[in-house]
Symmetry: C2
Subunit: 426 residues, 2 copies
Amino acid sequence: MNIYLNPKESEWDQILQRPRFDTSSLYDSVSKIISDVKSNGDEAIRRHTETFDKVKLDTLLVPAEEIEGSSARVSEELKAGIKEAHRNIKRFHSKQLCPDSFEETTPGVKCWQKTIPIQSVGLYIPGGSAPLLSTVLMLGVPATIAGCKEIVLCTPPSADGSVSAAILYIAKLLGIEKVFRIGGVQAISAMAYGTESVPKVNKIFGPGNQYVVAAKQICSRDSVAIDMPAGPSELAVMADESCVPAFVASDLLSQAEHGPDSQVILISDSMKVIEEVKEEINLQLVKLPRKEIAAKSLESCKLIQVKDKQEMVRMVNTYAPEHLVIACENYSELAAMIYNAGSVFLGNYSPESAGDYASGTNHTLPTNGWAHAYGGLNMDAFVKKITFQEISKYGLFNISASVIAMAEAEELEAHRNAVSIRMKAE
Amino acid sequence: MNIYLNPKESEWDQILQRPRFDTSSLYDSVSKIISDVKSNGDEAIRRHTETFDKVKLDTLLVPAEEIEGSSARVSEELKAGIKEAHRNIKRFHSKQLCPDSFEETTPGVKCWQKTIPIQSVGLYIPGGSAPLLSTVLMLGVPATIAGCKEIVLCTPPSADGSVSAAILYIAKLLGIEKVFRIGGVQAISAMAYGTESVPKVNKIFGPGNQYVVAAKQICSRDSVAIDMPAGPSELAVMADESCVPAFVASDLLSQAEHGPDSQVILISDSMKVIEEVKEEINLQLVKLPRKEIAAKSLESCKLIQVKDKQEMVRMVNTYAPEHLVIACENYSELAAMIYNAGSVFLGNYSPESAGDYASGTNHTLPTNGWAHAYGGLNMDAFVKKITFQEISKYGLFNISASVIAMAEAEELEAHRNAVSIRMKAE
């Protein structure tokens, strides 16, 4: 943990700098797998799965019976927890749907915008010892609310070829039938280009390691849209003396345990808070099963004292954290000044982990400073908006001078002609 | 022009195939310019401008007096046309703003989503003999409605170092003060990384040649968001015997004159329509100043007869055109079945050029099949949505079992602890 005392504003960029992760060095090796899957389909997937996941697969699609039977293999507590989270995520995301807009911009010129679900989407859920079951909810719930016709889910198989029962249980809950036991670059390639078993999708969502990230970037050049650029997870906490240092420490640790490259920052106007949080981190850290990962991440953790609340806000907007906890007395007032952050947690009883799982907000959020330009995943990501226009002859007459003048200025005579030929008609 | 009679559905992909444009072969040369601008700032911009635009620049920023004086150099007709288009584009885009959403997902758990303008955006406007002045409106109007704090506009200088008066006039109309006489890769690099003169922006919008497209792709990996992938412009027309062949021909030609790689497709259930449109194209083509460009594009033009309306709709949804004109009697009914297209023009009096300039819809649309996943540019592109949550102790209690069960299943003990430590507190 590194403590900074009242750093000058000119030093902020340096202090807040993130580690650079450039996946382009992986492009060659990743591109080879992509081309292989593109050319050889399922056979290539089986080959790469044997190499990377150490398992020989027969069918890639998880059979309906296995999905059906998953419920018996998930504890009642977890099922209840999943249902509660599902309900809240569904509620919040349903509210995000925006009515279609209509405007008669000029008499006879009717324009409107219609929201249409992306027809086919692919959800990638990383595996490992503890599969990210919450991510199935975070991606699957908005996809089903949007009405995407086809939802494909890929997740890597474990060594015996099986897939996490909790993931299957959630797939069943959401009505997702096309679950494939495929991981890594081969999963992204399969969804991007389609194979005998796996349908080609229009957009791929979901987190993954740097190979998965590189594969998404490469495939997004020519074949498939992707959710957003990805980087290591981040948390910034703004805390004043109204905070509970033990709570703040628990939030910083919950971020740190994600991985050794997690970014953890505390910004406070009180040295007392910084000292107490630091102490609490050390107390809580030793009890964690993932303490080695968290300790590694904490090496680059920054505890920054600034002179006042205004400076706290400015620093956060400069950094643009993925997650922001505001543990300050006047949190509403401060929240109103934040314009660069992914998701904001207010007060002493809004831990980041609530939003990671069950409060209703999405946990797929912009990392690595992308919060300057992107919001988190929401309903907009699963739909597209098509514009329509219906113009009467009178309407076209009303805007004809404008179209003609501008087409002339752009030296596009045929554009002009498409209007004038209609004006000349009986 | 190539005529296809009742092609089998299995042949559609082949017939509708687009030319492949892979800009990655340009990445090396483009990356060099980007690195140069990143390291050497304004000096590098001046050097590349001298090479590519054949002009030695003094200041890169267009002086306020030049913007102010632009009005005198634009014809009254064009100014009136611009104002009319501005009014319509502003009306339609203002309607697209969506109210912020709020939901108490569980008692004590309040979640909301707030729309916030992207703070700084860069607009790229290509130059050439006839600068794309309409694009200044299409990008600048939503940026100003969104409330983006900083709007930077780059456009290449002509040989005497000047910038199109019409572009400056529109900049003035929209209150855009930061106009730079910079084009090509050097403009994209300057806005992506910032230089002594040019501010770094969060997102870059606008069309350009393949070098500009490659530069946007490269910079979007690590520094800046971009609007959408770009390809040659496209138009598909669905026409039945209610259409006016001369009108349809004028629309196809207005697309064809954009460039030799423009994609032009007519789909009809009537061979009579196809023959008449073909004849009309030949009649109208010879009169066009850009007839050589249009003729080149028409070489790959496809006139496709299909058996009925259902097949027309299916073919369009397979192709996912940037622009779609529906010149059919029951156009409303057919429009309701379209789910893959950028912008749709209904009936005989809605030419594509109306939407290119003045009806109110945006002309920045997904090409190259990207309409499968993307809609056209709209207000969403200039804002981001930040989620907030405010949870009371009671609210956290209500979702605590869910968070704890899911955190346990994901083996993230510190996530669990962030909730349980709060539940244990007095």
